[in-house]
Amino acid sequence: MEPVLEVNGLRVEYRGDGRTVVGADGVSFSIGSGEIFGLAGESGCGKSTIANAVTRLLKPPADITAGSIRFQGRDVLALDARELRAFRWREIAMVFQSAMNSLNPVLTIGEQIVDIFTTHERMRKRAARERAGELLQLVGIDPGRLKAYPHQLSGGMRQRVVIAMAVALKPRLLIMDEPTTALDVVVQQEIMAQIRDLQRELGFSILFITHDMSLMIELSDRMGVMYGGRIVELADAKDLFAGPLHPYTEALMNAFPPLTGPRQELTGLFDAPRTADSCGFHVGCPEDRSDCSMNIPDLREITPGRWVARSKARSSEGASR
């Protein structure tokens, strides 16, 4: 079956005052129909960049300099302005991180949901309002709150409104960029449950972005781990959790130590910016760095479905960790 989203060799650069920073480099992954794909990594690893790139929401100074993005076979990068506008939200919808900021403070949430229907489906206002009410019920909010302004709702409610807006046109792919990071743990669980329910009911694929590995492992079918703008490991969620092959993945998972169990020393993550000619990744380098290309190596398929970024010298070790 044709993958819903296919990203190949995507490269995003940020051109600043005289220096260029690579936001994402050689990123390739695909998402199947109804599949939940998680993208994990620390702040600044490039996952939000990828999310924005897929919907072409990158703003200058960011620029897509190489690679392709195909949505159900269509070349997303080749769409013109009008096609892009029709494509957005109908095929791919996005849930942003901080719901408060992604809602227009001077319009009621009803007006903002109605906007979607009047633009994409040319509905009349009254019909659109009815649909908006139904949407709110879908996420467990009383339709009477359509007349409320964003600042009058609680954080959790706002996030649910944003999710409701995202599924309004029943898109094939939902991109969720850290949807629960700004919420407290209790609300987090509610939202996650809501997302799971909606996914089961409507059957869309999800590109789920977060730095919270534990959250993602629960939800995702497959996962990718990003570091310094590159994917360093790609595998089924269960396999990854059972045995991470890349040192960085291991370090990331260790950042959320279990409550019980033996005491372990926490490994730190080296935080250095990745520019066009420096790796910034010094976890797990062998003593002999003679073949170090200063670049995070490309992904190699170790076993079917498992990809790890390893240099040639180390790949012979196989899955021996």
Binding site: R88, A93, M94, N101, P105, V106, D115, T119
Partner: protein, 325 residues
């Protein structure tokens, strides 16, 4: 609601401050004001005028506190004293006859400058790097650097004296009787063109730049990105999402801009001998007509405060976040 009441209290306080200033100034003025006035009037003042002046300067022998209270009372009952230069017309009558022209000139110029300026600012910000964004701001800053009255003089010279396109003084032709007929109104309109144009040219830059900068900051907000992700049309995003929010600081600035426009209108009136209270103020100053001067100052202050209050009402209407508190 609480915001409006709090601001109202503040405006009343400001008004009280200006009344007090009016009271204090003549009484603590260095130098000898009365003899200066005698010298100016060359001894032709009537006893009533002298009595009026003595009361104004606190030279009548009432205790300071009593003078203050009676002054405040008289202001709030509309008694602003008797004009010296136009004796025995009360100050309030003099002001009343002229204020309409200033309101006309200031109002027309302000509305045109604000509306046009904001629109230009919105479009300039939306098309970053376009003609409007790169060429206009420096040009408008330059024009905005001109002193109001100098630009007025230039306009008067160019369009009035040299080209003779527009009339040069007053609000309407001498000899024409005022009335609500087409001839009079069109006459008023042609006399309004040059003065209003001057004020618009000098002030429009401020509106445009302010709106442009606010729009640029607003355009970086997350809800704009979300609106784009939703696939909404660019014009819808520009107006309903961006401009609607960027308007809020603009409205706040409107209140402050009023003070500046008053100053500009004042100077422009002087150059064009436009019969508003700005022109009147100057004549009062030259004629050392202190009661009239003070009366005009209070009137202008009151007008600015009332206008600010109205702007506050509009702001509350526009920003839902301050409404339900």
């Amino acid at each position: 609601m609480r915001l409006i009441l709090r601001n109202l209290g503040f405006y009343l306080l400001a008004f009280w401050a200006s009344i007090t200033l009016n009271f204090v100034l003549p009484r603590f003025m260095p130098g000898d004001p009365v003899s200066r006035m005698f010298a100016q009037a060359q001894g032709t003042m009537q006893p009533d005028q002298i009595a009026q002046l003595r009361k104004l300067f606190g030279l009548d022998n009432r205790p300071l506190w009593e003078q203050y209270v009676s002054y405040v009372k008289s202001v709030f009952t509309g008694d602003l004293g008797i004009s010296i230069s136009r004796f025995p017309t009360p100050v309030s009558d003099v002001i009343g006859s002229q204020i309409g022209w200033t309101l006309l000139l200031g109002g027309v110029a302000l509305v045109i400058a604000a509306v046009l300026g904001n629109l230009l600012g919105i479009v300039a910000a939306w098309r970053r790097g376009g003609v409007l964004d790169s060429a206009f701001p420096p040009l408008l800053i330059f024009v905005g650097s001109f002193p109001y009255f100098w630009l007025a003089m230039g306009a008067l010279y160019l369009f009035g004296v040299s080209l003779g396109w527009f009339p040069m003084r007053h609000a309407y032709d001498v000899g024409l009787t005022p009335g609500f007929n087409g001839e009079f109104l069109s006459n008023v309109a042609t006399h309004l063109v040059l003065p209003a144009l001057t004020i618009v040219l000098v002030s429009i830059g401020g509106w445009m730049l302010g709106m442009r900068n606010t729009m640029i900051a607003t355009a970086a907000e997350d809800y704009i990105t979300m609106a784009e992700a939703k696939g909404l049309s660019p014009s819808r995003i520009m107006f309903r999402y961006a401009a609607r929010n960027a308007l809020l600081p603009s409205v706040t600035n409107f209140g402050m801009a009023l003070g500046f426009v008053v100053g500009g209108a004042l100077l422009t009136e002087v150059v064009f001998a436009y019969p508003g209270i700005g022109y009147q103020l100057l004549i009062a100053v030259q004629g050392l007509d202190y009661p009239l001067m003070q009366g005009i100052f209070l009137t202008i202050t009151a007008a600015v405060l009332i206008a600010n209050f109205l702007v506050d009402l509009v702001y509350v209407r526009l920003d839902p976040r301050v409404r339900v508190r």
